[in-house]
């Protein structure tokens, strides 16, 4: 079979659309396509939950990877690709939020209320309808201070250590631990309210 014939088979209608599109990026920049495949889910998820909007998250993910493509020569091997991409994504989302003044729209949970609440953050979080899980998580995260939200999203990534999270958020590991403790508690309180 000729190369042309192979290409026709690979892009024929009815074939998995994702596979077709992956091929497209692979044909343009093979190494970069691998990077995209390995990290796009986590970067998109962070953008989605930080910005709380699918369209904004889509644009942000595109912009983050395009910035990464433009500056890939500046990447230093002392950090991982994941943390490097996270750093770009965090800064990008901060700029978007600043530009849209989104931080004034959603009220953040009161720290004092969280500290005095009697909810045990170590108790299991029960969900009956998985379909609504995404919406409930978004509602909950939107009620938290931006810093708590970001820390929870980063710590949920298996590939990141406390040290890396501390570096990404410009604070000490102890500060991260302390804030995460309060963030988990705040999340548990707010999550119960969404039931």
């Amino acid at each position: 079979m000729s190369n042309l014939a192979v290409a026709t088979v690979l892009t024929r209608p009815g074939m998995d659309q994702d596979a077709q599109q992956r091929l497209e990026l692979r044909s343009v920049a093979p190494d970069f396509a691998e990077l995209y495949c390995a990290h796009s889910r986590q970067i998109y998820y962070l953008c989605l939950r930080v910005l709380g909007d699918h369209a904004l998250a889509e644009d942000a993910t595109h912009d983050v990877f395009l910035k990464a493509w433009r500056h890939r020569a500046e990447f230093r091997a002392e950090s991982s690709w994941r943390t490097w991409l996270y750093r770009i994504a965090i800064n990008h989302c901060k700029n978007i939020r600043r530009a849209w003044s989104l931080r004034h729209i959603q009220p953040a949970a009161d720290d004092a209320l969280v500290a005095n609440a009697s909810v045990d953050s170590s108790s299991p979080l029960r969900v009956l309808e998985l379909k609504e899980l995404g919406e409930r998580i978004q509602k909950t995260l939107d009620q938290l201070p931006a810093e708590y939200k970001l820390l929870l999203l980063l710590v949920a990534d298996d590939q990141l250590s406390y040290e890396q999270i501390a570096a990404l958020t410009d604070q000490t590991i102890d500060a991260v631990r302390g804030k995460l403790h309060r963030a988990r508690k705040a999340f548990a309180i707010e999550f119960q309210k969404t039931a």
């Binding site: 497209e24 796009s40 170590s122 979080l125 029960r126 309808e129 995404g134 998580i137 548990a188």
Partner: protein, 77 residues
């Protein structure tokens, strides 16, 4: 004949109830921590395929623009 139909109906009802119970069981889930819940949510989240298409187009444009630069610009920035 009637008995046979009744039996079939009963069997069907039982099967429907069992299916509903299984669905409920799979729908309900308990997470031991916030991290576990977020991890699950992230795994369920589909990355829109349009991002990859747009990215491929953007990268292609950048590569084309780079190729189109005159030799002296490439040399001296």
């Amino acid at each position: 004949m009637n008995q046979h139909t009744k039996k079939l109906e009963q069997q069907q009802k039982q099967q429907t109830t069992e299916t509903k119970l299984t669905e409920q069981k799979t729908a309900a889930r308990e997470f031991s921590s916030v991290e576990e819940m977020l991890r699950f949510d992230a795994a369920q989240t589909q990355v829109p395929s349009s991002i990859e298409v747009r990215l491929a187009e953007s990268v292609q444009k950048e590569l084309a623009a780079r190729k189109a630069r005159p030799w002296w610009k490439k040399l001296f920035g």
